[in-house]
Symmetry: C2
Amino acid sequence: MARMNEHFLKLTSSYLFSEIAKRVNTYKETHPEADIIKMGIGDVTLPLPEACIKAFHEAVDEMARAETFKGYGPEQGYPFLREAIAEGDYRSRGVEIDAEEIFISDGAKSDTANFQDLFSSDAKIAIQDPVYPVYIDTNVMAGRTGVFRNGRYEGVVYLPCVPENDFLPDPPKEKVDVVYLCYPNNPTGAVAPRDYLALWVEYARRHDAIILFDGAYEAFIRDPEIPRSIYEIPGAREVAVEFRSFSKTAGFTGTRCAYTVVPKECRVKDGEGRFHSLHDLWFRRQSTKFNGVSYPVQRAAAAVYTPEGQAQVHANIAYYMENARIFREALLGLGYACTGGENSPYIWVETGTDSWEFFQILLERAQVVCTPGAGFGKSGEGFVRFSAFNFREHVEEAARRISTVFSGATP
Amino acid sequence: MARMNEHFLKLTSSYLFSEIAKRVNTYKETHPEADIIKMGIGDVTLPLPEACIKAFHEAVDEMARAETFKGYGPEQGYPFLREAIAEGDYRSRGVEIDAEEIFISDGAKSDTANFQDLFSSDAKIAIQDPVYPVYIDTNVMAGRTGVFRNGRYEGVVYLPCVPENDFLPDPPKEKVDVVYLCYPNNPTGAVAPRDYLALWVEYARRHDAIILFDGAYEAFIRDPEIPRSIYEIPGAREVAVEFRSFSKTAGFTGTRCAYTVVPKECRVKDGEGRFHSLHDLWFRRQSTKFNGVSYPVQRAAAAVYTPEGQAQVHANIAYYMENARIFREALLGLGYACTGGENSPYIWVETGTDSWEFFQILLERAQVVCTPGAGFGKSGEGFVRFSAFNFREHVEEAARRISTVFSGATP
C-alpha cells in the first residue's frame, strides 16, 4: 500500500479553536439566553473598502466581455499590483524594493507555509513561542523536527517571548539556518524596535541564516519610531524575506490576497558551496505549483493604493485600534499587565492563572470569549489573547462586563 | 549559509513556452506584417458565463456590507459549492460522492502539485509520457526521483502514450505506489474507455496503489460511453483521488477555482502497517497550508450549476468543440494522423518529423503556432499539439492556411 508521509503523525492535533467552539457550545446549551461576545478571533468584521469594491466590480465586468477577458495571468501576479505595492508600501517610505521582487499570492498563510519548500530537509529552524502554528506545523510535515515531547518539537530552537525579555527574545547562541519572526506579533501584540530588528539582521548575516519575517500586521503600527518593514534595517536585503497580507489591512480575509518580498540579493547555497538565488527558487516553486491570484481580486487589492483606498483603509484600521484602546484600558483598569493593543490589533494579557481556567471563568462570569495563550505554545501558558477585530458596540459591552464582573479583584 | 533544497537542481528548465515565445518573436521581427495565429495555447478565450458574472457581482456586493460580509471561510470550501458539485457533477450522473469528500481550491495545478505532500519521500511514482509537467516536477522537488538523464528522471516509471497502444498504456508489470493519469489527456487528447480505467482500478487495488486522476477536461467528453469520472468504475473509491477544474469548463483560468475529490475509503499506511485516511491527511494539509478560495469566486463557480449556468457552459464547450472539429478535419484532409479533438479540446498530430522542426515550418509557411510535442516528454517527439481554445475566425483562418500551404504534400 502507498506509504504516507509519516512526519504528519508527529503533528499534535490543532485543537485550539475547535476546543474553544466546543466549550462555548456547551455553555450555550446550559445558558441559551446568554449573549456571548467573541473577543478571541483574529478575523475582521468591517466590509471591504469602497474603493476595492468598485475595482472588484469593474474587473468582474472585464471578465464578462471577450475583448477584456483575462485568462491565465502571470503566476507571480500582475505588474499593476506589484508596481502599486512597490511604490505604495516601500519606495514611498524610503525603502528600495523592486516590483520584480514582489510575488502576489492568495495568502500569507500559504506563503509562510510554502516557503520552507526551498530549504534542505535538515535545515535548523528557530521559531518564537508562543507562535502562529503554521510556521512550525509545516516544518514538522517536511520532516525538519523530531517528535513532540513536553510541549515542544525536538530539533527546533524555540525563542520564548515572555515578560522577562519584553516579548523580544535575543537571537540564540547557536547557529540556525532559518528564523521565523513576526512583528507586530501574533499572538503577543509586541512590536519590534529598530535596534531589536538590527540584532537579528546582524545575527543572520553572521550565521548566513535567512529571516522569514511575517509583517501581516504592519499597517497597525502607529508609532513612527517602529519599523514597518525589515528592509528598513541596513543589510536586510541579503538575509530577509518579508510576508505581507491584505487580510487585516483591507479586510481581505475572505477575499484572499497577500504578497511576499524576496530581494534579489538573498542567497542560499548547495552542498558544494555554490550560491543560488532564493528569488529564482521561489519563482520556480510558484510557477510550478501555483497559477496566480484571481484577476478581479488583484484589481480589488490594487485599489488599496488609490487615494480613496488609502483613506478608507486608514479609517478601518483606526476603528479597530480604537476598539483595542477601549478594551485595553478596561483591562489595565482592572490591574492586568497587557502587551499590544497600541501598535497591534492583539492584546496579550497575563492572567496569573492557567489560561484555559481563565477562559472558562471569563466565559461563565462575563460571557466573553478569549483565546487561551497555551494554545499558541508552551510559553503562552498564563496568558490569553484578545482581538480588536470586532464591532465597536460589542467591544464596549465586553469592556463594561469585565470591568463590572472583575472589579476590585482579578479572577 | 542556509542550505537549499537540492532536489530543485535536478529540474530541467521548463523552456517549452518561453522557447515558443522566443521563436515567435524572432519571426515577428523579420516579418512585422505577419498575422500570426496561436493554436498552441491551452487558455480559454470566451468570457465567463453570464450566470457566473451575475453571481460574482452579487457576492462582491455582499462583501460591501457589514451584515453580509464574509471573513475567513472554511479551508475546504463553502458547503453551498461543495453541495452543488456533489449533486451536479456526481449524484445526478449516478456517482455517489458526498459533499464532504470535495475540497475546493484555487486550481487543479495547485492540487495536483500539492497532493504528493501526503506520500512518503520514497514512494514509487508512475507518470504518462508525454505529460503535464507539474506531476513530475513536483515529485522531483520532493526528492522522489534521481537525476535527469536521456530525457527521463531516474527512479520514475514512465508510461509511454504512443500510437502503438492508442495512447492508453497498460499498467506496469512492477508495483508502484502512486500513478498519475489524465483523461481526456493533455496533451494527446486521448480519452479512456471504461475497460481501460477498470484495468487501472484493478491494478491499484491489487498493488495498494493510489491513482491521482486528473479530470480537468471531462466536460469535453461527448461520447456517452466514455466515463467522465474514475468513480464510475466499481472499486475506485478505495484507490482514486480525482482532480477537476472550472478553468476550461467555465472559463475560470484567470478567475481560479477547482476541486479535488478524496473519498473517505482511500487509505495509506504508515511504516508499522497501520491505516490512515487520505481524506483526513488532505484536510490536515489544506487546513494548515491554505485558507480557502475567495468567497465571490466560490459564488461565481456555484452559478455553473444553475440551469442558466449549465446552458451557458454547454454553449461555450460546444463552441470550442466546433473549433476542434474544423481544425481536425483540415488536418485529416491533409493526411495527418490525429488523436483528440472529438472528446477533448486538444488535437495531437503525428508530424513524422522532429516536432520543433515542424513547429518552425508551420510558423514560417502558415504563420500558425503549435506546441511541439517534445516539450511534454520524450514520447512526445514526432508530434505537435493544437488547442481548440481560440476564436472561431482564427481557427477557420488557420485551417484555411494549412490546407492551402500543405495541400498535396505534408511538410
